[in-house]
């Protein structure tokens, strides 16, 4: 039995939107609508979907930034060696938990406080949680800067974010995130705003750190190619729901849900001689199939740890 670092069951995040000045009705926007997944230690899950599908909302709910409106989220508690629900934790307990959950953001320009030096930015988590004494903390900062490839540390510590490039800033973000050695890190498209040529170096860094520090990622992206590079398993999200979830290669080679098929077949391939596999459903038909099958369906296991959301399984395989 694999130990899970996080277990999500029936997560919901609904928003109430008033229907206008004269309307008494309040519409409910289901940004995240009943999703469930688990991530074992040392593994990474990719959350893939188009903008507005609910992946960022999920990320924020898991990091306890915006409270969820329903469902259970359980994290592994080191002390009790058991899964613990994070709902009704006291402030002190909650603070302890926060040591184990972190997030890396998409925008390297806005995720570092422009008025703080790199040193202060990376020191902050240690200061908040009162780890060690000042000297220990400073040494830890120098160590982590070396690990993320920003050496010599003394060249970076007194600088301000605007003096660094986008790639360097993301490394600082990674350093700050991982200095506390969290077990679970949510990555919200950390390379999409970086130049294509440096994305790989950042992704490789994250992969190496995941191995060395035994960190699990929830990697959010709209780019399936990136998800393939970074993750063991991929979950496809559509309209607030997970429609398909499977191991990476299985998903790419054997997609079942029409939305997944459509997604994969839309991705351009960097090879001019490659003929993209056009799934033998034309786009208009796909739309109506998605409408018919898309939502309000439980996840069905079709073997091989491959789950899809649908009632009529036979109709799709």
């Amino acid at each position: 039995m694999k130990k899970n670092v996080i277990e999500v069951k029936n997560l919901e995040k609904y928003y109430e939107v008033s229907g206008g000045f004269f309307s008494r009705n309040k519409d409910i926007v289901k940004a995240v609508d009943d999703i469930s997944f688990e991530i074992p230690f040392g593994e990474s899950l990719g959350l893939v979907g188009q903008s507005g599908c609910g992946k960022t909302t999920t990320a924020r709910a898991l990091c306890l930034l915006d409270p969820k409106t329903g469902g259970d989220v359980k994290f592994y508690n080191n002390e009790t060696e058991n899964m613990q629900n994070i709902d009704n934790l006291e402030d002190e307990e909650l603070k302890k938990f926060r040591r184990n959950i972190q997030m890396i953001f998409q925008d390297p320009y806005e995720s570092l406080n422009p008025r703080w030096t790199i040193k202060d930015i990376i020191l902050e988590p240690l200061n908040i949680h009162n780890i060690g004494d000042l000297q220990d903390r400073e040494e830890a900062v120098v160590e982590i800067l070396k690990t993320v490839g920003l050496t010599p540390a003394s060249n970076y510590l007194p600088r301000y974010p605007h003096e660094l490039s986008g790639g360097q800033r993301q490394r600082v973000s990674i350093a700050r995130t991982l200095i506390m050695k969290p077990k679970f890190v949510v990555c919200d498209e950390p390379t999409s705003m970086l130049d294509v040529s440096i994305r790989i170096s950042i992704m490789d860094l994250m992969l190496n750190l995941a191995k060395d520090l035994e960190v699990s990622y929830l990697y959010i992206t709209h780019d399936l190619a990136v998800a393939r590079y970074m993750c063991n398993r991929i979950a496809v999200m559509f309209n607030g729901k997970i429609v398909e979830i499977a191991e990476t290669e299985e998903l790419l080679n054997n997609p079942i849900h029409p939305y997944t098929k459509r997604l994969i077949s839309s991705i351009p391939v960097p090879d001019p001689s490659y003929d993209r596999k056009v799934y033998d459903v034309n786009y208009d038909e796909l739309d109506s199939i998605i409408a018919k099958h898309g939502t309000d369906n439980p996840m069905v296991d079709i073997g091989n740890e491959h789950y899809i959301a649908t009632h009529d399984v036979k109709g799709l395989i």
């Binding site: 188009q50 130049d195 399936l224 190619a225 393939r228 590079y229 991705i267 391939v269 960097p270 001689s273």
Partner: protein, 324 residues
């Protein structure tokens, strides 16, 4: 043999700033044939958008073309004054910008904005003629005719982008420049839009210049392509050849650092460091500081630079051929 529609020779363009001259485009030459699709790829800051802006001479005030020639159907564009250029813009060459869907005037209906563009070039056409034209354009790009009377905020991102393409086609240009037209769009919609562009191009026999940092899109959309780095073209040739036998070290790294959803999962190579500053004269090979496997020759400025022909039609900058 189709004829050359656009020919750029030794184009040099720089921006005058407080810190000095930024040489954004250095000795760039390429040509586009009728009906052909030409791709320009490179990381941000490599000069590809500057090239696009130079073609239409829509750059910022502090940008100057210092030398070179741009010929559209044999007519020299460099040196034209503003009023002559206005005739060429949209009629000869038009452009679909990055984030162009946000370029719509929010208080004017979409159809009216396109009519304005047509009127600018063909004031003699009647409103009925223009409407007919717009309807046929919309049909080509997959938009319903009712969109003519809609305001931009009533349309989705994909619809706005299709309308921008219709706008770019409204004056029957010979060349359309597409500068990252599908960033910020969902991959599914991007696929649809790219298909529309291909369809339209074939229908109208247009020449297309496609600019992107995404080599996968370039692979699918273009017949010929050029790779740009630090303001110069480092490799140019038929798309198939550049992908199958990339010669320049930068091209190779670019191809090997792009993850893909198909094929074997392989270890990708990364490219560290930053592109060089364009303010100072670059002595020697501009790529050598970042080359993962530089030879001793690289730092030597005497080594012969400039594009050499590797095979017919396929050129690469000599200094980095077969390196990396």
């Amino acid at each position: 043999m189709s004829k050359e529609v656009l020919s750029v020779k030794n184009l040099n363009m720089h921006y005058e700033t407080l810190s000095g001259d930024v040489h954004a485009v250095k000795d760039v030459s390429f040509s586009v044939k009728e009906g052909e699709s030409f791709g320009l790829v490179g990381e941000s800051g490599c000069g590809k958008t500057s090239v696009a802006m130079s073609l239409l001479q829509l750059q910022a005030d502090n940008a100057k073309i210092s030398s070179g020639s741009i010929q559209l159907d044999g007519v020299e564009l460099v040196g034209m004054n503003e009023s002559e250029l206005r005739k060429v813009r949209w009629d000869g060459i038009s452009i679909v910008f990055q984030g162009a869907m946000n370029a719509w005037n929010p208080v004017v209906k979409v159809g009216e904005q396109i009519r304005e563009a047509i009127r600018e070039h063909y004031p003699e056409k009647s409103k009925a003629e223009n409407t007919e034209k717009i309807e046929s354009l919309f049909q080509m790009v997959g938009l319903d005719a009712t969109v003519i009377d809609r305001f931009p905020h009533e349309l989705s991102g994909g619809m706005k982008q299709r309308a921008i393409i219709a706008l770019a086609l409204s004056c029957d240009p010979k060349v359309v420049i597409a500068d990252e037209p599908t960033t910020a769009l969902d991959v599914v919609i991007q696929d649809q839009i790219l298909n529309e562009i291909k369809k339209v191009q074939q229908l109208l026999g247009l020449s297309l210049i496609y600019i992107s940092h995404d080599i996968a899109v370039i692979a699918e959309m273009t017949d010929q392509m050029a790779v740009m780095y630090a303001g110069s073209i480092v490799e140019i040739g038929p798309t198939e050849k550049v992908f199958s036998t990339p010669k320049h070290a930068y091209t190779r790294l670019l191809l090997e650092s792009t993850p893909s959803v198909v094929g074997e999962k392989k270890k990708l190579r990364s490219l560290d460091g930053e592109p060089p500053s364009l303010i100072n004269e670059i002595i020697g090979c501009s790529f050598s500081p970042r080359c993962p496997d530089p030879s001793s020759d690289c730092k030597n400025p005497i080594k012969e630079m400039g594009l050499v022909e590797i095979e017919p039609g396929h050129f690469a900058d000599n200094c980095c051929v077969d390196c990396g």
